[in-house]
Every structure is written in structure tokens, then in C-alpha cells.
């Protein structure tokens, strides 16, 4: 049975999710602010963190980044927000959308506990080899990274192995980015995959289809590395106050 740190600013949710896990024998410590949870982590080593995303002051993503910088603890998010892509980069290996039932929350908890040593895998899809190499160099320090040169290769890879996040170029031979994303959304086994689209074609950045295809972010290729590093390294607002006190 596992020690679980549970963080949610909604105290009702906190109460029943705690009960749902305790009824299966887990030991749960629950917190309603990220600050309190961070303070507790100084002396507490849970096997798993279950956190909400949208919270005042320090949100769940920032909390996960800070917590994981100190201790390597697997993170599962349970949230209303559609922040799956950001969650992967913040170090999560599980995401449950609210509203969820006790069974759904438990199932995700068990899955993440089974995979607790797993690192999230990011798939980079781009026909430019230099881009694939560059992204791999940046991402591989933090994630498993695999690459594909076009949509077709990417689909084969997605069906063959577990991928947590896909970073997809738009203009590619054989099968382009839009076709790939559509194929992913139409495949029941893949449709929940978080996707970030990045392209040098600024008109494609503005295109309205991406919202319909439930893409997390669409960005200029020039910005991807900056964005990624920002997500990964930039201390969250409020973190400055969280530094060791005199």
C-alpha cells in the first residue's frame, strides 16, 4: 500500500478522494494549498503525488515542478483544466479529467504506482532531421524521446508503443501534421494523446482547425525550445518566496 500526497483546493473533492484511496488501504495526507504541501515534503516522502492543476498562488504545474526538483516522486493530476501537454512537461505521468468517479481516480492511481519509475515519452514528428536532433538533445535530459519523419511513421510508432506527448510539425511528406492529428483523434486508443503543433508556417499557426482537433498548443517553431525551457525551468510565480527562509 502506498503513501499518497493529495493536493486540491476544493476541500470536498479532497475529502472524498482521500476516502476513496484510504478504502483501498492507501495512506493519504491531504493538503488544500501547494505551500502547505511543499512544507510537508521537507520531512515526508510519499510514493505518489495526486494534485489539482488550477489553484490560487502556486498552481499544480508549478507545484509539481518544485516538488520534483527536490524529490523524484511520480505525479498524477486530477483536474478540470485541459493542461495535459503542460502536465507531461511538468513531470506528470498520469492525468484524470474532473469530474471523475472513485473508480476512475483509483484506477489512475494504481496505474501510476505500477509505473512509478517510468519517465514520460515524447514523440517528435518532423521531416527535418536537424530539428529532430535538436529537440532530442533538449528533451532527452528529462524525457524518453522518440522521433518520426512524417505522419505515417508517427502513427506506426504511436500504435507500437506508449507515448505521453507528441510534438508535431505541419508540413511533411507522405502524411502531414493535420492528417496525423486527425488520424490520432479518430483512433479510440490514441484520441486522448496531448499534442503540441509547431511549425515555421505562421499562417498554419493561425489556422482554426487546431482547436477543433483539440491541440494543446500551436506555436512558431522558433519558439518551441524557448517555450519548453520556460515550462521546465522558469520558477513559478511565488516560488521566490518559497526559497529557504533565513
Amino acid at each position: 500500500m502506498a503513501n499518497v500526497l493529495m493536493l486540491d483546493d476544493d476541500t470536498e473533492a479532497l475529502a472524498w478522494m482521500t476516502a476513496a484511496l484510504e478504502s483501498r488501504g492507501h495512506h493519504v495526507k491531504s493538503f488544500s494549498t501547494a505551500r502547505a504541501a511543499l512544507d510537508a515534503l521537507a520531512t515526508y516522502d510519499p510514493d505518489l503525488i495526486v494534485a489539482d492543476v488550477l489553484m490560487p498562488e502556486i498552481d499544480g504545474l508549478a507545484f509539481a515542478r518544485i516538488a520534483r526538483r527536490r524529490k523524484s516522486i511520480p505525479v498524477l493530476f486530477v483536474s478540470i483544466a485541459k493542461k495535459e501537454a503542460e502536465a507531461v512537461i511538468a513531470g506528470a505521468i498520469g492525468y484524470v479529467r474532473k469530474p471523475a468517479s472513485a473508480a476512475e481516480v483509483r484506477e489512475a492511481v494504481e496505474r501510476v504506482l505500477r509505473e512509478r519509475d517510468r519517465t514520460a515519452t515524447i514523440l517528435v514528428v518532423d521531416d527535418d532531421e536537424d530539428v529532430r536532433d535538436l529537440y532530442t538533445a533538449y528533451l532527452s535530459g528529462h524525457f524518453e524521446t522518440v522521433t518520426a519523419a512524417n505522419g505515417k511513421e508517427a502513427l506506426d510508432m504511436l500504435r507500437a508503443r506508449r507515448i505521453d506527448l507528441a510534438v508535431v510539425d505541419v508540413h511533411m511528406p507522405i502524411m502531414n501534421g493535420a492528417e496525423l492529428v486527425r488520424a490520432i483523434r479518430e483512433d479510440p486508443a490514441l484520441q486522448a494523446l496531448p499534442i503540441i503543433v509547431q511549425t515555421s508556417d505562421l499562417s498554419a499557426v493561425q489556422a482554426p482547425i487546431w482547436a477543433t482537433l483539440r491541440v494543446s498548443q500551436v506555436m512558431d517553431k522558433q519558439r518551441f525550445i524557448d517555450w519548453f525551457e520556460g515550462q521546465l525551468r522558469r520558477p513559478a510565480i511565488g516560488e521566490a518566496e518559497e526559497r529557504p527562509r533565513p
Binding site: A13, W16, M17, P99, S101, A102, D220, D226, G230, I237
Partner: protein, 380 residues
């Protein structure tokens, strides 16, 4: 009245184009001709493009009309000439037509047409402004609906959670049936909410889904200044924007929205400012963030309103004005960029609203420049 007097009587002048390209006057000379060109000898053959340089653009079209022998006249755009005596503008239009064997050029003074055209342009500008205002309102309403649907989902998480825990307890009938019915209803609600949210995000990328970019805060503040200066002047207020803004590099935001957030805060300050007062916008860079504050000399926010100030439908200082969505919109926007918003009373009275924005990560080009020893604008 002779037939040839009709033309000047309707404020026009008629020329006939000769084969050598010169124009000879074929009507009387209306008064306005002498007012705008007192030195021209109208009875001589002349080059009209010398008299009216604007016609240089129109003559190629006119030449085609004269050559084509088509009975359809061609018409130039309106142009303005200033009157010699009083400097006032009058508006002219040229018409070229082939009449039997004659290439005719008629120049008409057209005040009515000009005024009508100005009216149409003015109306278009008004419609554009109404359109923008309505679009902003629709966006705010969308955000409200989105927030309400989100708020409906939050307690539903607990309803489904608790019902599912009860369901697992294995009740006997009729309780088991009741719990099952409750659970089914809650799950239908969940489907509905998720469909609404999906449709929303698919229809308009506005709702928290707009991608953030690196935005030049200085440029945005300059636009706020340019747009709000005239309003400040008309209300006898002074708008002072910290000129250091240009030294602030880029922040994480969405440019159009950041403009709206800052405009909202400035308008809010105007609304509560007594005549003659100043509204100040200050910029305070910190290590990784920058705080932009809007300060006014108005009455400030009453303490009992403070806890709900940034909630939707909360009305800050005056329960009678505004939609109650402005500050909520600001909060949702800046929080979406990883920033924050707050209020404090100013020393000596007045309100101070601030937003805190993250500095955008440095680009590689900037890093290279810095490595090469070049200074980057006031980042520290």
C-alpha cells in the same frame, strides 16, 4: 441663358481634347475655377494635367475611353483643391466621354457627393467601433459562460465521487436503485458539460486556449497610451505612462488580450477619477517578473467588496456601473499566462491595481548577443 452657360451653372467646366493632346475650353468658366487657379488663362489651349495635377492619374483611363468610341463615360475619383482666398477645400471629379466626334472632359465640383461619401466613411467607422465593442462584449460573455460551466463541473466531481463511493458499498433495494439513478444522472451531466466545453474551444480559440507568446510590453503600453490619451483629455484627466516601458523586454501573454487587460484597468481608473486628476501607469521589473500598476486618485475600493473584487459579476467600486466582468476578465487572462492580479489602497488615497507578468524566456539570439558582450535592455 445659352446652352453653353448650363455647364458652369451646375458648377462644371467642359473641355474638348484636341488631337495634339491639348484641351480647349468648351463652356463658360465657373467661379470656382478662378478661385483655385487665379493665374490660369482659361481661353488658351492648355494641358489639363498641368492645371490639375491629379488628372495625371486619370488621363490614361480617359484616353482609352476616347479611343474606344464607346458612349459610356468614365469617371475619376474625387480629389480636393484648396481655394486661393480662404484656403478651404473644394471637391472635384472628372468625367471623360466620347460625344460624336468629340473627346469631352467634364470637371464637376461635387460638394454633395463628397459629403455623402464622408458620411458613409464616418458611418463605417462608427459601425467598426460598434463591431469591436460587441465582439469584446461577446468575448467577455463567452468567458463568463465558460467559467460558469467550469464552476458546474467542480461540484459535479464531488457528486460523482460520493455517489460512486456509495454505489460500491453494495446497498439493497430500493437504495441501490436510487443511487444508480443518481449516478446515471450525474454522468449525463458530465457528458453535457464536456460537450459544451468542447464546442466552446472548437468554435473560438479565445477561451484560455489562445496561445501565449512573447509580447513587447513597451509596445502594448504605447498603444494603450495612443488609444486612451484622447479619452483622458476629453475628461480633463492626465494619463501618465512610465516611459521606462520601452526598456522592459518581453512578457508571456497574448498581445490582443494584454492590450484589453491594460485598457480595462486604465478605463476603470478613468471612471473613478475626479476631474483634473492623474492616472499613472508604472512598471516595476523584478527578477523573473514585471509588475504593471495602474494608480488613480479616485475613492478606492470599499473593504467589504475587496474579498470578491476579482470574482465574476463582482462590481468593484460602484454597483451601478460596468458589466462586472472587466476585472474577472483581467484575472482569468493574466492567470492563464502564469501571472497574477491584485489591488491595494494607495498611500494618501486612491486605488492601485496591479498585474504581475512573467518575463518571456530569452531567445537564443538574445543569449548570443549577450554572450558577445552586448547589453540587453534593462533586463536586470
Amino acid at each position: 441663358m445659352e446652352l453653353s452657360d448650363l455647364v458652369p451653372a451646375v458648377n462644371a467646366v467642359l473641355f474638348e481634347r484636341k488631337d495634339d493632346g491639348r484641351f480647349v475650353i468648351a463652356s463658360g468658366v465657373p467661379r470656382w475655377c478662378r478661385m483655385i487657379r487665379p493665374d490660369v488663362r482659361w481661353d488658351d489651349a492648355l494641358l489639363v494635367e498641368d492645371v490639375f495635377p491629379f488628372l495625371g492619374v486619370f488621363l490614361p483611363d480617359a484616353e482609352r475611353a476616347w479611343k474606344s468610341k464607346s458612349p459610356h463615360p468614365v469617371q475619376s475619383d474625387l480629389w480636393a483643391e484648396s481655394q486661393h482666398e480662404n484656403g478651404q477645400d473644394l471637391y472635384l471629379m472628372a468625367i471623360a466621354a466620347r460625344v460624336k466626334e468629340t473627346s469631352a472632359l467634364l470637371i464637376v465640383r461635387s460638394d454633395v457627393l463628397f459629403q455623402r461619401r464622408q458620411g458613409v466613411l464616418q458611418r463605417a467607422r462608427e459601425l467598426q467601433m460598434t463591431h469591436t465593442a460587441l465582439m469584446n462584449e461577446i468575448e467577455q460573455k463567452d468567458i463568463l459562460i465558460h467559467a460558469i460551466v467550469h464552476d458546474l463541473a467542480a461540484p459535479l466531481h464531488s457528486i460523482i465521487g460520493i455517489l460512486s463511493l456509495l454505489e460500491e458499498r453494495g446497498h439493497t433495494e430500493p437504495e441501490a436503485g436510487w443511487i444508480h439513478i443518481g449516478m446515471q444522472a450525474a454522468k449525463r451531466q458530465r457528458e453535457l458539460i464536456s460537450e459544451i466545453l468542447d464546442i466552446f474551444t472548437a468554435e473560438n480559440g479565445v477561451l484560455g486556449q489562445r496561445p501565449t507568446t512573447a509580447v513587447a510590453l513597451g509596445d502594448v503600453l504605447e498603444r494603450v497610451a495612443a488609444e486612451r490619451e484622447p479619452i483622458a483629455r476629453s475628461r480633463n484627466l492626465k494619463l501618465q505612462i512610465d516611459t521606462n516601458a520601452r526598456l522592459i523586454p518581453r512578457v508571456v501573454a497574448d498581445e490582443t488580450r494584454l492590450l484589453r487587460v491594460l485598457t480595462n484597468l486604465v478605463d476603470n481608473a478613468f471612471r473613478y477619477s475626479p476631474p483634473g486628476a492623474s492616472v499613472r501607469v508604472t512598471i516595476q521589473p523584478q527578477e523573473d517578473t514585471v509588475t504593471v500598476a495602474v494608480e488613480d486618485e479616485g475613492p478606492g475600493v470599499k473593504p467589504d467588496v475587496l474579498p470578491r473584487l476579482f470574482e465574476k459579476l463582482a462590481r468593484g467600486r460602484d454597483s451601478m456601473s460596468g458589466t462586472g466582468l472587466g476585472l474577472f476578465f483581467c484575472r482569468i487572462s493574466v492567470e492563464n499566462w502564469g501571472g497574477g492580479i491584485g489591488y491595494e489602497e494607495r498611500e494618501g488615497g486612491g486605488a492601485r491595481f496591479w498585474i504581475r507578468l512573467q518575463l518571456a524566456p530569452r531567445t537564443h539570439a538574445e543569449e548570443r548577443r549577450e554572450a558577445n558582450g552586448e547589453r540587453i535592455d534593462a533586463r536586470r
